[in-house]
Amino acid sequence: MKPLLIQHGHVLDPANNVDEVRDLVIAGGKIADGPAPKDADVLDAKGKYVVPGLIDMHVHLREPGRADKESIASGTLCAAHGGFTSIVCMPNTSPVADNAGTIAFIKQRADTVGSVNVFPAGAITKELKGEELAPTGSLKRAGVVAITDDGNCVQNNDLMRRAVEYAKMFNLPVLDHCQDYNLAADGVMNEGYWSVALGLRGWPAMAEDIIVARNILVAEVADWWVHCQHLSSARSVALVREAKKRGVKITAEACPHHFTLTEESCKTYDANFKMNPPLRTERDRAALLEGLADGTIDCIASDHAPHCNYEKEVEFDVAPFGIIGLETELALSLALVHKKVLTLRQLIEKFTVNPARLLRLDKGTLSAGADADVIVIDLGREWTYDVTQSASKSRNSPFHGWQLKGKAVATIVGGKIVWKEE
């Protein structure tokens, strides 16, 4: 691999407090110190930002088991297009990633066909059933960076407590999809004016809030890190904010669709607006933005959830939850920078150092000697998202046809340009 000189770009590296126009040199797959070697390839980044490769800690790659929806190859290419150099894949595959063999398979596939780094998350419980602990220690040895029953939520509070206490022994954070099953029941959209108007069953915000509160108590008792995935409600944000003030080991993420859209979008009955947790009210959306701005919400993640057209193009009640998001995530998040909700540095932190810190990944910085995971962002680029051209195998995006501003134009993983806009 030839050395690479990224020239004239505005380097923004929050971990090292770098925020200036300078060149960046990559050699041997690492960020290099000193001048570029004579034989280096040159990538011109004039007028663009050069930042650490982004990390998305919430992605469904569907392989093994549902490679018709997405594969490790297509999902990681999608990530590369979106500016992500590292992704954490969720364990709700078939078979479930609740054993070392499945983790080994995912890692081996990712090494062979993946465009970006793949860090698997293992299951908290066997087959995600919420009944018995999966072998957390073996999963750790096989290479998981966290455990989660994502898509499912452990309902048994004692089991959740033990899972967190046990994971602490292995230095693994526990990621939780916060949903009380009795309260959410068969809800398909936010409970409120719109669910009543549309005659769709409601999934109340309270079903999330009560589990966020549970997780705060568990994190406090276990004195260990619990991460609340895809916060969607104002009350959840307030609970996490208050807990953080007390020093509880709790973190949280938000998804672009939750801070961009509201429940009203469901009024056409288009199942591309059906996600779990559901889109909520304008008040909830505003609370997420506030939580992102004041640091209550540590990370932004996509919850990239591919589904086939024939699965999504059905009655709203029947459709599976979820949307693809890796390709639109950065632009939808940059909208917060354009609207001055966040500074660019704050945003890049939520995509780099913050997830790296909570997952204990040696990623997310441009320090000399670090893995050369770097992306180039054109902040002002205006473009239209055309889902028919997506690298994903699926097409379930509510953002098809949206005018967006800001885009990754080159993605470098371990010193290699894995994707570059033509």
Binding site: D186, V196, A197, G199, L200, T268, Y269, V314
Partner: protein, 313 residues
């Protein structure tokens, strides 16, 4: 009665929500003309001759399906019924594929009843045929609200200014929603009453009054519309028992005696005698339950006629 003068533009009838008050009145006026057809010796007119109507019922229904079928036959349309058990839907075909198949058969009108809210809207986006919503989940049942309004107007001479109380399971009821949209558009004062779990205050945002006091709900009502408790749509946690419902909210003889002497008693059917309505009350002179059924035919004839492109003579 004021006649509205405008051209009907809609291909589909998906719900009451999107209709203007003028459109509602136009349907009611058209239905009044068709009602006379049903009273003749020869009950058939040629309005839809050569048109194919498909009754696509993906949820059990006898009365609504029969009413649509008769309405279509009286308009001389060719009618085919497809019900959930008879169709290939049980074999795993998607609604989209069913719709495309019906399109390939050159259906002109598809009347759809479906357990999922929004199913008629889903069809309307994908096929050329007119789509008439015959009830979608807990969302809307527009022809029921139209026939209720037709009956009220016929009996009371107006809708504007009347106190209409809808009593029962509002949360899961498509009949309630369509009635709320229609009655508020036409200027009635709507009161919703029933158990607090089934009549949440969010309905106040739809321009209704919400109360859990049945005595107060029925006292000043000009019209009392009773809804069935829909076990099949409810979660078990919603209220204690049918017996408790009857005790707290059933329209028994004592409560009936305290209603206004000219208050109409309505029910979309099927009624559960002794549950939400006392048997004698159901049969009393102020009960218009069977007239609702008769008017349903006229209203459905009007809707089919208008959606298939008919214009008032």
């Amino acid at each position: 009665m004021k006649k509205t003068k405008f051209i009907w533009q809609r291909k589909d009838l998906l719900g009451i929500e999107e209709l203007s008050a003028d459109e509602v009145v136009h349907i009611l006026d058209t239905a009044a003309a068709f009602k006379q057809v049903g009273e003749r010796n020869i009950k058939k007119v040629p309005s839809l001759r050569g048109k194919t109507l498909i009754n696509l019922f993906i949820e059990p229904s006898t009365r609504t399906r029969t009413s649509f079928e008769l309405a279509a036959k009286r308009l001389s349309a060719d009618v085919v019924n497809i019900t959930a058990t008879a169709s290939s839907l049980v074999k795993g075909e998607t609604l989209k594929d069913t719709a495309l198949n019906l399109q390939a058969l050159h259906a002109d009108i598809i009347v759809i009843r479906h357990g999922a809210a929004g199913a008629p809207h889903f069809l309307a986006k994908r096929v050329k045929a007119s789509i008439v919503n015959a009830g979608d989940g807990s969302h809307e049942h527009p022809t029921q609200a139209l026939l209720d309004a037709f009956t009220i107007r016929e009996k009371k001479g107006r809708i504007e200014g009347l106190n209409v109380t809808i009593l029962g399971d509002i949360l899961y009821s498509r009949v309630a929603r369509s009635n709320i949209w229609l009655l508020t558009k036409l200027g009635a004062k709507v009161t919703l009453a029933g158990p607090s779990t089934l009549v949440p205050h969010v309905f106040e945002q739809f321009g209704c009054r919400v109360t859990h006091d049945i005595e107060e709900a029925i006292r000043d009502a000009d019209v009392i519309n009773l809804l069935r408790i829909q076990h099949e749509r409810q979660r078990k946690t919603m209220f204690p028992s049918i017996g408790e419902y009857t005790a707290m909210f059933g329209l028994n003889k004592e409560r009936f005696a305290r209603t206004k002497p000219d208050a109409l008693i309505m029910h979309p059917g099927p009624i559960n005698r002794g549950v939400e309505i006392d048997s004698d009350v159901a049969d009393c002179g102020r009960s218009v339950i069977l007239e609702q059924v008769t008017n349903g035919l006229a209203v459905r004839m009007a809707v089919l006629y208008l959606c298939a492109g008919g214009q008032p003579a």
